[in-house]
Amino acid sequence: MEQAALHNFLHRYFTANDCDIVEDQDGVMTVQLTDEVDEMLMNRPFYWHYVKRIGGQGMPMKVTFITNPEKQEEKGEWIHFGSPRLHKMFQTLREKGRITRQYEQVTPSQGQTSLVPWLMINASVQYKGTQRKDEVLSIGLNLMNGGMIPGIMEKIDPNKIGPIINDYCFTLTPMIRMPSAIKRVEQYINTYIKSQDHSWSVDALQQLESEKELLSYFFRHDLGNESEQEEDAEAKEDAEKRYQDELNKLEERFQPSISVELINAGVLYFSQESSTRFIKGE
């Protein structure tokens, strides 16, 4: 993230979290935190614990964040892409921004307008071989006709939606029920993943095999001998345990796997026009 983008992000973040931006100039931003945000970000659990215990009024902090590299020396906290505070914000977003429900804000010219329900799921696919990579997917499912739209996040105009349904609008009852809708999205992702090139996994599997071979060779003598001696038996047991531990760790390191993790999801209601527009890919 560029520093300018970071500044933008901070602005949005604190606004969305109802914090007052006291000052904002030239990449130096002073924010009056709310109780909630202070507790989330500022890392002082004992203070908040204490305030709650005595039932008092907390004093949320006023913090200055700096994104302009030339102002790094000024009083305040320098925020860059690696700073823990920023990642703390990212994390709080994953918690707070998990589920939404939105309605397209249409003003019908006459009579009442029906809104079509959509399920939207954003997910991150994690591919793990000897290394790991992620892919972010955003999928929309029309709950009336089952139409599926990849990359729907990028197609939504934030200015046209809101949390409250407009007067003269009503929502249609979904034809596809939620459990089955989620299954469809899962199935879609599954098919999408399977259609990919997975040559990366071959390398990991080969590594796994050869490492396994080395390992059993290493432990060959310790594991092989049958012995009456108690001491030997103990040593053997120990060796067996280590062998098993090492083997498990090898599999954890090299076993290729793909898993899907939810970022966030929501039900969105769009007008017929917008719904058709999505399907047409416009």
Partner: protein, 554 residues
């Protein structure tokens, strides 16, 4: 798609509930969108390449550090021996690699084992340089934290031991891993039983070890990589020279070890100015030394050599040993008499010539100095003596508690002019803010000397480093310094190299070698010749080495 890939594409069951519940607290679109965007932003789109760098814009990594991290991540799959020479930043490399695995979500539960004196330094470096929230192990409950730094001695003791051995670690770093070379030790046994996915062993001196030691280190990382113990010893025996001779083995070791030398890094290092400071004993001191060497000559035992060396350092050091000998040992009455005589001579002595020299050398300089001595008694004496001359100093030694060490380092950095360290203090503190070092007396182990120098002449040192070696004329001190250390250019060169050479020559322990020479020589002349021979052998091997450009496993 390959059937062997484990595939899981189902969402958590709670998702359905959250989506349909009418009383759910739905988030605003802004928060929703930001959560999506940031997830996208922290995603790593490629398997290859290092991501950690862009999370750490405040650190300038050196090319060899980046290369090392890349190699360990991409080629060695996160299990490696980092064996850079002292001062090239092994900690930085380890941090970079660890960060990479953390960013990619492959490492969460992490254990760092370091010598007690280094624990805090690791904590500080991980936190400030890498934003890795490492904590020092102080209480048992600390083990619940994700990233813990502990000394191995604490870790292997109850109740910590069981907690650690029961934990599945994702990533383990072991600093100063050369101490693990012996597979019969408790430490080795302990480390071997740790459950770990990724693992880094850090050591500055891996090639000094016997082949079996290398086998043992590699076996922690990759059991079987060098075969099993029986095959290995059968094939290579215990012959230390084999590593450089056997191409196959060298290749194998290369697969798990990264070793950079100063020369290869292409960095401009500040200069080392080495100056030998010859000092004359006062007459009383001279007489005492003479007497002591006479009564002890003719097959000098180890203790006598020690006495002489101590006398070169301070009256106090020698006095203490003498007293202990008289007290503890069943000694011959005539010998006791001799020792008594030495004691009474010592009592007559004025101040030590070296101490005076220190004061002269520091003089009016405002610069900071580190003084290294082998003896604690000397350390006390020097501190007192410097104080008498209005020079502020702080002591430092291995036995200090961690917090005290940090405190002393702080005091030295901010207030005191001189830090007086004993040998054990040589390991682990980084003092690149100081560029003057006095070797008040010299260890007979060149590795220890390099450890000392490495405290100041390391990455981050911006000034040329001045090293003053003190030696009293016409004593064994001077002989060892001028006949051996200077001849083999110990102070100019890099010890990693000397290490390999000594191995080739099958000199296990230079200290013992010198002791043997000194104790087995009938006369001073003989001793000088033998020392001279030893240094010639080493210099010759050094020349050979430079021509062939091969050393150890590098």
């Amino acid at each position: 798609m390959n059937e062997q890939i484990q595939l899981n594409t189902t969402f958590d069951e709670s998702l359905e509930q959250d989506l349909i519940a009418e009383n759910s607290s739905y988030c605003s679109w802004d928060l929703f969108q930001m959560a999506y965007e940031t997830s996208k932003h922290v995603a790593n789109p490629e398997f290859q390449g290092l991501q950690s760098q862009k999370y750490l814009p405040h650190v300038d990594f050196l090319p060899h550090q980046m290369k090392c991290a890349e190699q360990v991540v991409e080629k060695m799959n996160g299990r490696a021996i980092l064996a850079d020479e002292v001062g090239l930043g092994k900690t930085i490399e380890a941090g970079l690699i660890l960060k990479e695995y953390m960013i990619r979500g492959l490492a969460k539960k992490i254990l760092i084992l370091a010598p007690a004196s280094l624990v805090n330094q690791w904590v500080v470096e991980m936190n400030t340089k890498f934003h890795i929230p490492a904590v020092a192990q102080r209480k048992t409950h600390v083990w619940e934290q994700d990233v813990v730094v502990s000394s191995i001695d604490t870790a292997k003791r109850a109740p910590h031991r069981d907690i650690i051995l029961d934990t599945d670690y994702d990533f383990i770093i072991i600093d100063e891993a050369h101490k693990l070379k012996n597979h019969k030790t408790k430490n080795y046994e302990f480390v071997r039983s740790l459950k770990k996915k990724y693992c880094l062993l850090l050591t500055a001196t891996p090639v000094q070890n016997h082949l079996v030691d290398i086998f043992n280190l590699v076996s922690i990382l990759k059991p079987g990589h060098l075969g099993n113990y029986d095959d290995f010893t059968k094939r290579f025996g215990r012959n230390r020279n084999q590593l450089s001779n056997d191409e196959h083995l060298k290749e194998l070791v290369k697969k798990v070890m990264v070793r950079n030398s100063r020369g290869e890094t292409g960095i401009e290092w500040t200069k080392r100015n080495v100056e030998t400071v010859h000092i004359d004993f006062s007459e009383e001191e001279q007489n005492t030394y003479k007497y002591l060497s006479e009564v002890t000559s003719g097959g000098m035992a180890f203790t006598n050599i020690t006495l002489l060396r101590e006398l070169c350092s301070s009256r106090e050091a020698c006095f203490l040993s003498l007293q202990n000998m008289l007290k503890n040992e069943e000694i011959h009455p005539s010998r006791a008499e001799q020792l008594q005589e030495v004691i009474s001579m010592i009592e007559q002595m004025p101040h030590h010539a070296k101490a005076q020299k220190v004061v002269d050398l520091i003089g009016d300089s405002k610069e900071k100095f580190i003084i290294f001595t082998e003896y604690r008694a000397t350390q006390y004496y020097l501190q007192w003596y410097l104080q008498q001359h209005g020079i502020s100093s702080v002591p430092f030694r291995g036995g200090f508690k961690r917090s005290k060490k940090d405190w002393m380092k702080q005091l030295f950095q901010n207030h005191a002019q001189v830090l007086i360290a004993t040998e054990a203090g040589g390991e682990g503190i980084n003092l690149q803010f100081c560029n003057n070092m006095i070797n008040y007396d010299l260890p007979w182990n060149p590795m220890r000397l390099e450890q000392r120098i490495g405290r100041v002449h390391r990455f981050g040192q911006k000034e040329d480093v001045n090293i003053y070696n003190f030696a009293i004329r016409d004593t064994i001190e001077e002989h060892v310094l001028s006949l051996l250390y200077e001849k083999i250019q110990l102070f100019q060169r890099v010890v990693g190299n000397l290490d390999a050479i000594l191995q080739k020559l099958e000199i296990d322990n230079l200290e013992n070698e010198i002791q043997d020479i000194v104790s087995q020589s009938a006369s001073e002349g003989e001793m000088k010749i033998k020392l001279d021979n030893l240094s010639s052998v080493i210099s010759y091997a050094q020349e050979q080495e430079e021509q062939h450009g091969t050393s150890g496993a590098s």
